[in-house]
Amino acid sequence: MTINLLKNVKKYGMYALLLGGVLLASCSDDDEAPEPENEVEVFTDVTLIFTNTADASDVVKARAKDPDGEGVQELQILDDITLSAGTTYTLHYEILNALDADDPEDIGAEIKAEDDEHQFFFSFSNNAFTDPEGDGNIDGNTTGAEAINYIDTDDNGDPVGLFTSWTTSSSPLTDGSFRVRLQHQPNVKTSSSGVNDGDTDFDLTFDLDIE
């Protein structure tokens, strides 16, 4: 009995150790950091670019910057928008992720590629513009002469707003405001979808002066 037992211990003890070894051997320490990722969702810099349709060299830029992306530092609105009275401008954007300052990424191209999921909305001081009139479509009121002048449309013929047209009022304005909001509307965007559909990609308010 004792001898048998001893044999068993030897035999099965070895099996136990072998099996244990197999189970554990595959566990090894490593020292790798995660691979670098190309941040595709973060915006740090948005620039509004107003170009005078009559004079391509007359360009007004207004910049907004969130220096640390997802970090807690406050958004900075770096410029006021100062436009000439009675002038027509085309508005477009430069949208960047500059978390890595040496290699900023252009998010604008990505929005253009997915223009059937995006739309820009606006609100501004009442009658700051003669075309469009009113105070913009963020409040949902977009009829007639108050309709925003979207220049571009997506594949479904719905407005996008990467390019819009603006004619300023002939009377000056000081301390006005201009708010632009980009909505991301995957599977939601239709001809009747509005500012409250989908989710907000950016929502920025600038001071507006017309002189």
Binding site: S26, C27, A33, N38, E39
Partner: protein, 802 residues
């Protein structure tokens, strides 16, 4: 880790070498005795004069009129008993010297029950003074479509915190997540256990039973059992058990869910095996007034066990696989503060679509593999148990975002757990277990998410020793448990600029537990346990950075306050900044049980102090390019929990039984003297069950009516809406009083009904959950911000056993 491993194996070998000298005590003289008792599996009454035979031998005995039997003058110490009595299914049982008196439960021939044998083996908790509740296989079978947390949520004092219908985590006395250890087949379930939106990947149909330990069970199971432990045990793999199995299938109306599971097993003289599998599919669940879009789920699981038995030796191999695809409510996603604000005030979820089985973003896809090998060796020196296990957990989460086809979280977590335990023989009445444990985890991010990893890559190694001893003195049982842990972490992560940060740090801690059990009289029993436990902050609590769901969240080592009192996140902290301390908990739990005639009464009362309790709280609204966003930080405070659970059962007649239960919990942040958030509200519940007389030729039929009332959480923090924060109507500073975004939901009453029936090998049930189709919101469900809970649900299950 090699040195720890070697140490463990040396010890194992050392113990093996001791044994031959002792083995001589295993003499072949025929003096061995087996005594036990025989009872009716249905009525639990003794069966008089049943025959107990030793298989393949001419030896046997007839039990006395109290169902007790004694077999003596046996040669050898392992025998297969065959027990028979007229009108009952025969029972076969393999008995060895290392188990206490067997109790043989014989099933009447004309019933769906199976004859089983229960041996007086030590319960899983080891610390017998910790309050323990158990759910057996029969009860689990009635809950096949429910999650682990929901299945144990019917226990008094246990509830669950959830993120929708598919992601549910157990809550024991107000604690959840990393403070509740989940033990699956003997090992800590290694999964992404952070936040309330990652549930354990465990298929309850693979479990034989589930035990819940309500005290600090950290001595046996290690850190993280601060609030208790949930112990899931697989098939027992009994020897000498003929081929058996079951096939079950079911359908539920809410979510048009269906499931099928099958189990098969057999035990022979030297070995036994078990195989099982489960498939579960559900579509969108439905609240009383609308569809809960994207709440479908799919689950596939398989498990297999094999046991090989030799005199004194027992080898068990177990493998399980679970694959889950879980949908989360579509309307719960808000990338901006504006949308979140609108979601909270809307009467209905903002996105409601027609019913579908489709699982779209947001969703979670996980697979979990568990393999373990357990070797037990019994001798007069006690029992030596070696457990080796390995788990692989792969998780991908998809979010609604511009790049929805890429996972936003893609993690592989590998866990190994090695344990060597020695349960020594009684030494002057002192019984106990000594153990060594080596535990390691390796977490890696898979590239290609298009976002900076929310959780860094890390390796954790922990080496532990523990001892649990108990001594019985008259009607008193005293217990002591001690444990020493040393944990080492190596972390590598990326900042949003993609710059690498690294850190190596370690913690050492001692855990203790003191227990006392006293039989006050024949009918009264008192248990009391004072336990300490600790837990290191997990990786998410230390390192989370940025947006996850609707929150922007910063871990303890990702934010600091600069000299101007401003919050800053541009630096990764280390242990030298003293910004994070391990949690230390002290729990005192008492249980008083009274059992007499038709009455059973259990009162559990507890107090729990946790130093450096880790929680997340809103701290500010910051301007971002997306508009104003609520910001959360992980913070620490000292917290006190006190509460009581009460259960009173009464057997009115042989067939009619009633139970009344209540749970109460009070909690407070004692450092700031304010309430905590997400604590379970007061609950009162009743259950009435009636075994009906036979009808329609059925063998068994039982009706159960359950009701419960959950009160409004009167201890909820004040409410500050996102709108008020965005507009600046309410100013929040880092030191401001805690708040929540929405009022705690109103109290609600629920009724459930169940009819179980049996006919020979067939069994089944019809169940109605939420009979009154009550619209309600559960305070512990994160989705309460957005949608009601599911409405009325009819469940039909049929089960064939052989």
């Amino acid at each position: 880790m090699e040195k720890y491993l070697l140490f463990g194996l040396f010890l194992f070998l050392a113990c093996l070498c001791v044994h031959p000298t002792q083995a001589t005590q295993f003499s072949d003289s025929c003096t061995y005795k087996i005594q036990g008792s025989i009872v009716d599996a249905k009525t639990k009454q003794p069966i008089p004069f049943a025959a107990v035979m030793i298989k393949n031998k001419q030896q046997g005995v007839v039990a006395d009129k109290h169902g007790k039997f004694l077999l003596d003058k046996l040669c050898g110490r392992e025998h297969t008993l065959v027990c028979s009595s007229v009108g009952y299914k025969p029972a076969t049982h393999h008995h060895d010297a290392h188990h206490k008196e067997p109790v043989i439960y014989m099933a009447p021939s004309a019933s769906e029950l199976k004859s089983v044998v229960v041996e007086g083996e030590a319960i899983v908790g080891d610390m017998q003074s910790i309050a323990l509740d158990k759910i057996d296989g029969a009860e689990l079978a009635t809950k096949a479509t429910r999650s682990l947390a929901s299945a144990i949520g019917d226990i008094q004092g246990i509830t669950f915190i959830s993120t929708g219908s598919n992601v549910q985590l157990p809550v024991i006395h107000g604690l959840y997540g990393n403070r509740i250890l989940i033990i699956n087949n003997g090992v800590k379930h290694g999964f992404q256990n952070w936040g309330s939106d990652h549930a354990p990947e465990i298929d309850i149909t693979s479990a034989d039973n589930i035990s819940v330990l309500k005290g600090a069970a950290g001595v046996r199971y290690g850190p993280e059992a601060l609030g208790g432990a949930v112990v899931v045990e697989g098939h027992p793999l009994n020897l000498s058990e003929k081929l058996h199995g079951n096939i079950a299938s079911g359908y539920q109306t809410n979510g048009k869910g269906y499931h099928t599971n099958a189990h098969l097993g057999a035990g022979y003289e030297k070995f036994s095996y078990h195989l099982g599998g489960n498939y579960l599919r559900m579509g969108d669940r439905h609240a009383p007034d609308y569809s809960l879009t994207n709440t479908g789920m799919a689950e596939r699981s398989a498990n297999a066990g094999f046991r090989y038995h030799l005199p004194q030796w027992d080898f068990k191999v177990y493998y399980s696989y679970v694959d889950q695809d879980l949908g989360l409510l579509r309307s719960s996603v808000a990338e901006s503060g504006n949308l979140f604000a609108r979601s909270l005030t809307a009467d209905e979820p903002l996105i409601i679509r027609d019913f579908s089985y489709d699982i779209n973003e947001p969703r979670q896809n996980t697979t979990h593999h568990l393999a373990n090998l357990a070797i037990d060796w019994h001798s007069d020196l006690g029992k030596l148990a070696l457990l080796l296990s390995r788990q692989i957990n792969q998780r991908q989460e998809y979010d609604v975002r511009r790049n929805a086809d890429l996972p936003i979280i893609d993690l592989d977590l590998r866990t190994t757990d090695t344990r060597l335990e020695w349960s020594h023989p009684s030494f002057g009445g002192l019984e106990g277990t000594l153990g060594l444990q080596y535990f390691s985890q390796n977490n890696d991010n898979n590239p290609g998410t298009g976002t900076t990893p929310f959780i860094p890559n890390y390796n954790t190694s922990r080496f532990s020793v523990f001892v649990i001893e108990s001594i019985q003195k008259g009607s008193n049982l005293f217990e002591l448990g001690l444990r020493l842990d040393h944990e080492y972490n190596s972390v590598r992560g990326r900042e949003t600029s993609q710059a690498i940060f690294r850190n190596d740090y370690s913690f050492t801690n001692v855990t203790a537990s003191l227990g006392f059990v006293r039989d006050l009289s024949a009918h009264w029993q008192l248990r009391t346990n004072l336990g300490s436990a600790w837990r290191t902050p997990n990786m998410a609590e230390l390192y989370s950075f940025g947006q996850h769901g609707f929150k922007t969240q910063f871990g303890l080592w990702r934010y600091y306050t600069n000299e101007n009192g401003e919050l800053r996140t541009d630096r990764v902290l280390t242990e030298e900044d003293d910004a994070a301390e391990p949690e230390r908990g002290y729990k005192w739990i008492n249980e008083l049980t009274h059992q007499k005639d038709d009455h059973t009464f259990t009162l559990t009362a507890y107090a729990h102090l946790i130093d450096n309790y880790i929680f997340d709280r809103p701290v500010a609204v910051i301007g971002t390019i997306r508009g104003p966003m609520p910001v959360f930080i992980i913070d620490q405070a000292d917290a006190l929990f006190a509460g009581a659970d009460l259960t009173y059962s009464r057997t009115f007649t042989k067939n009619l039984k009633g139970t009344l239960g209540a749970s109460y919990l009070w909690s407070q942040n004692i450092r700031k003297n304010e309430t905590l958030i997400n604590q379970p509200p007061v609950n009162i519940n009743t259950e009435l069950s009636w075994k009906t007389p036979s009808f329609l030729g059925l063998d068994a039929s039982k009706l159960t009516l359950q009701t419960s009332y959950s009160f409004r959480q009167f201890q909820a923090p004040r409410t500050v809406t996102p709108g008020e924060l965005i507009s600046g109507a309410v100013e929040i500073t880092p030191d401001a009083e805690i708040f929540d975004f929405k009022d705690a939901p109103e109290g609600y009453f629920l009724g459930h009904f169940r009819w179980e029936w049996g006919l020979g090998s067939l069994g089944g049930q019809v169940e109605i959950r939420n009979i009154l189709n009550t619209p309600y919101r559960d305070y512990l469900n994160q989705m309460r911000y957005f949608a009601d809970e599911p409405g009325r649900n009819f469940l039909f299950t049929i089960n064939y056993k052989f």
